[in-house]
């Protein structure tokens, strides 16, 4: 099935064009202006974009996503903007254009940054898209389900409705059911563990696995009902106030327990936001280090505090979550964990920092209307995995996992998806036998 352009039906929501323009003017700093001035419209980015490659639709060329900002730049901030405006060379953005661009800015950009690699100017289109989303939301646009997820996070504590009360119930249930200690609201702890509500509601074994591993290594850790949700739908949806609130909650919780380390669970964007944007959203340096669970476990393995039985049940390959590898810089840690553990590990092609996105990053997973195109994109991942001959795919992101699980079901694919944390916990060598 190919996905036709313009599959997103227009709706009747009022659109405040002026608000979008004002927001873009405010966000249009020197870094974005330099990108807009540098783009030579060569279109090389198209080949790196999974949405373009899956659909062969030129509308999915990443450079086209620079258009809203470029138009505002030309009309209000570029040299002779006033003259261009007066001569009609820099027309104002219209409501119809904003509606036309909306699916390009939201539904078909996972902010994976593959396009940046092939761009001869190294333009970071993902960061421009993130800023542009804020303007679209200011105008009243954006996928309703993504915006609702952000509102849920603000109002209930998590996008999937994991309130502090639900968290406490789920933790108690998981601890009892799995006979594992899951500390919640300890007064003081060295490490604050955060969770993704995707894990808590859909993949709770992942939470249990993290608890088992941290306990086995003798870590002084806790969850906190003050700040537990690692995902940040404020950033994904372009709602800056919610983005800041979500980071503030974790920072407050970490400072309250005196944590020196905040561990982000298997979630790519949660890591990217807290590790690389958290301090910027708060406007101050974070008084703790932020690490992804794979980074933290790799460190424990290096220290000899965790040991694993070799896993030889089947060959496995590894899917790099974009925000952990390419945009996060933690590419090597998952491989260090798999090294010497997965006895038949096969890298896919391309891999590591150049790996393809699952299709659900950047909040696209939460957009119901983007499901069809996501499934088409997933065919790229299927081909990558099948080329390795491995029957199982390991990864370190619950959002990727959910995306791939849904596409796997939609396309009736028979390969297995495995969480790296769960795989490690299942093969943990108890400390007294290590």
């Amino acid at each position: 099935m190919t996905v036709a352009p313009g599959t997103i039906a227009p709706d009747n929501r009022p659109v405040n064009v002026e608000a979008a323009v004002t927001k873009m003017e405010a966000l249009l700093g020197g870094h974005i202006a330099a990108y807009l001035d540098a783009c030579v419209h060569c279109g090389q980015c198209a080949q790196a974009c999974h949405f373009h490659e899956a659909t062969q639709d030129p509308r999915h060329t990443p450079a086209l996503k620079l258009q809203p900002m470029t138009r505002v730049y030309r009309r209000s901030k570029s040299p002779f903007a006033g003259l261009k405006k007066a001569l009609g060379l820099a027309p104002a953005i219209t409501e119809a254009e904003l509606r036309d661009w909306e699916p390009l800015i939201f539904d078909t950009c996972t902010m994976c940054a593959r396009c940046t690699i092939v761009c001869p100017m190294a333009i970071d289109i993902a960061s421009v898209v993130a800023a542009t989303r804020q303007a679209f939301v200011a105008a009243g646009l954006g996928p309703p389900d993504l915006l609702q997820a952000a509102d849920n996070a603000r109002d209930k504590g998590s996008p999937l409705g994991v309130t502090p009360e639900v968290l406490a119930d789920r933790v108690e249930w998981l601890a009892d059911d799995n006979e594992v200690e899951i500390p919640l609201d300890k007064e003081k702890a060295e490490v604050l563990l955060t969770v993704s509500s995707i894990e808590m509601m859909k993949y709770p074994d992942s939470v249990v696995a993290m608890a088992k591993l941290l306990n086995a290594a003798g870590i002084d850790w806790t969850l906190s009902s003050k700040g537990y949700e690692a995902t940040n739908f404020g950033v994904l949806s372009g709602k800056g106030d919610i983005a800041k609130t979500m980071v503030e909650r974790i920072a407050t919780a970490a400072e309250a327990v005196g944590a020196r380390t905040v561990v982000v669970p298997e979630c790519g964007h949660a890591y990217g936001v807290l590790r690389w944007s958290g301090a910027n959203l708060l406007g101050r340096a974070l008084p703790f280090e932020v690490v992804h669970i794979t980074e933290y476990l790799a460190d424990l393995k290096r220290q000899g505090r965790l040991k694993f039985k070799p896993y030889s049940e089947q060959a496995v390959t590894y899917h790099d979550p974009c925000q952990i590898s390419r945009r996060g810089g933690a590419t090597a840690d998952a491989r260090y964990l798999l090294d010497g553990f997965a006895t038949d590990f096969r890298e896919m092609t391309p891999t590591g920092n150049y790996n393809w996105c699952c299709g659900g990053g950047g909040g696209v997973q939460a957009m119901g209307r983007a499901a069809d195109v996501r499934h088409e994109v997933f065919r790229i991942k299927m081909a990558q995995v099948e080329a390795t001959g491995a029957p199982a795919l390991v990864s370190a992101c619950a959002n990727c996992r959910l995306t791939m699980d849904e596409s796997k079901a939609a396309l009736k694919w028979d390969k297995e998806l495995i969480s790296i944390v769960e795989l490690l916990a299942d093969n943990l060598v108890p400390a007294d036998k290590g």
Binding site: D37, A38, H41, V118, M121, A279, L286, R326, G329
Partner: protein, 216 residues
């Protein structure tokens, strides 16, 4: 008319080019940009990333090279060919020595065969890039009037330059100068500025991601 083209208009074009480019770059550098308060993975990551991106994005890397290889070959043919012509074509060297430097500094001049090779490479590169722009569905979506103007002004400057090569006719030389002057005046206000802004864009991305551990 010829005196005007080779005299006042030349100086106007030169001043517009130099002041315009400097102004554009100063404005870009002076525009506010957010500071990064995150803790870098390594202290030298930002600088290293910027340098890596500056070099790495000059060549194809990272896979998915189908489109890149075409642009790499045709782009370098055009850019290198043009740069060689601008700096080393014999009439240009004489012009630079007489009008810009004011003395003979021993600037090397291209032999005729090398001029022909450079000109052929530049023309072929530019034409192949432009044909691709007119026919490729991806590029057609992206292309605007600025892209067309930049190509045509450059093409006309190159074509008139070839016609004026023998310096057999003052009118041909003046036509070439006029086309170059148009290009120089247009340059700072167009996408041709990528000749300079590529440094800012690559360095920004490289520095941002270099701090994180991987400059793409």
């Amino acid at each position: 008319m010829i005196e005007f083209i080779e005299g006042p208009l030349w100086y106007l074009a030169l001043a517009t080019f130099l002041v315009g480019v400097a102004w554009r770059l100063i404005v870009l550098v002076a525009m506010k940009r957010p500071s990064d308060l995150s803790q870098a993975r390594s202290a030298s990551g930002g600088l290293g990333g910027a340098l890596k991106a500056l070099i790495q994005h000059s060549v194809p890397h990272g896979g998915n090279l189908g489109r890149t290889l075409y642009h790499f070959v045709t782009g370098y043919m055009f850019h290198v060919g043009l740069l060689v012509l601008v700096l080393f074509a014999a009439p240009h060297v004489e012009f630079i020595q007489e009008r810009l430097i004011g003395s003979d500094l021993g600037w090397p001049k291209l032999p005729r065969w090398a001029f022909i090779v450079a000109a052929e490479a530049a023309f072929a590169g530019l034409i192949l890039l432009y044909v691709h722009r007119l026919t490729d569905p991806v590029k057609k979506q992206l292309t605007d009037i600025d892209d067309h103007l930049g190509v045509w002004l450059t093409f006309i400057a190159m074509l008139t330059g070839c016609l004026a090569l023998q310096e057999a006719h003052d009118g041909l030389r003046a036509t070439h100068m006029l086309s170059v002057e148009a290009l120089m005046i247009y340059f700072p206000f167009s996408r041709l500025m990528h000749a300079f802004t590529f440094v800012l864009a690559r360095a920004k991305t490289g520095a941002t991601y270099g701090r994180r551990g991987f400059a793409p």
